[in-house]
C-alpha cells in the first residue's frame, strides 16, 4: 500500500488544479494506493458553499463531490487558511477534516509521495 497526498494550492476559479488533483486522486483507487487531498492557500475557497467556477462558465467543482463520497476520499483543509479567506459557509459534502498549519508537517511525513498541483 502506498500513501499519497495531493496538495492543491491554486483557486478552483480560473485554474484547473482542484478538479485535476481530485481526478488524479480518484485514479489511484485502481491500485493499492491510499490517496488523500489537502487544500492549501487559495484552493481552500473550494470548500465554501458560495464558490462556483460554474458562475464564470467554467467546469463545476461540485462534480468531484459525488466521487469523494463514493470512494471515501479523505480531504483536509487548514484552519488558518479557512480564517484567512473568511470562509464561514463550509460545504459539508467535501467531508473535510480541519487541521492546523502545524499538523501539516506530520501529515506530509506520513506519506510516500506528496504531490503539489
Amino acid at each position: 500500500m502506498k500513501k499519497i497526498l495531493f496538495v492543491v494550492y491554486q483557486p478552483p476559479c480560473g485554474t484547473i488544479w482542484v478538479n485535476e488533483a481530485f481526478r488524479t486522486a480518484f485514479g489511484m483507487y485502481g491500485e493499492d494506493i491510499e490517496p488523500e487531498l489537502l487544500f492549501l492557500n487559495e484552493a481552500t475557497i473550494s470548500i465554501s458553499q458560495e464558490t462556483g467556477p460554474a458562475k464564470l462558465g467554467m467546469l463545476s467543482l461540485k462534480m468531484v463531490q459525488k466521487y469523494i463520497k463514493k470512494y471515501e476520499t479523505k480531504v483536509y483543509a487548514i484552519k488558518e487558511d479557512i480564517e484567512k479567506f473568511c470562509i464561514n459557509d463550509i460545504d459539508a459534502r467535501f467531508g473535510a477534516e480541519f487541521i492546523t498549519n502545524d499538523q501539516v508537517a506530520e501529515l506530509i511525513h506520513s506519506k510516500d509521495f506528496v504531490i503539489f498541483m
Binding site: F26, G27, Y29, G30
Partner: protein, 77 residues
C-alpha cells in the same frame, strides 16, 4: 449464443479515470468464471479497460458498439 453477465456497471456519462477504476474494482471483487459487463461512452476507456483487464489476467469476451459512441465490454474473471 448470448452471454449472460454476472454483474453490470453502467459507466455512461463518466470520464477518465472513473470507468477504468470502477471496472478494476468490480473485477477484484468477483470470482473466477464470473462475467462483468461494463457500459461506457468514454472512447479512451474502450481501449484501456480491455487492455488493463488482460494485463490483470482476465479474458475479454467482447467489445460491442451499442450506439453512437457507446460500447459494451464483457470481461470474464
Amino acid at each position: 449464443m448470448a452471454i449472460e453477465p454476472t454483474k453490470t456497471i453502467d459507466e455512461r456519462g463518466e470520464v477518465c479515470p472513473v470507468p477504468d477504476v470502477d471496472a478494476k474494482r468490480a473485477l477484484k471483487k468477483m470470482n473466477a468464471g464470473e462475467i462483468l459487463e461494463v457500459l461506457i461512452d468514454y472512447p479512451l476507456s474502450k481501449e484501456r479497460i480491455p487492455a488493463n483487464s488482460k494485463k490483470d489476467g482476465h479474458e475479454v469476451l467482447a467489445i460491442e458498439e451499442t450506439g453512437p459512441s457507446e460500447w459494451r465490454i464483457l470481461i470474464k474473471v
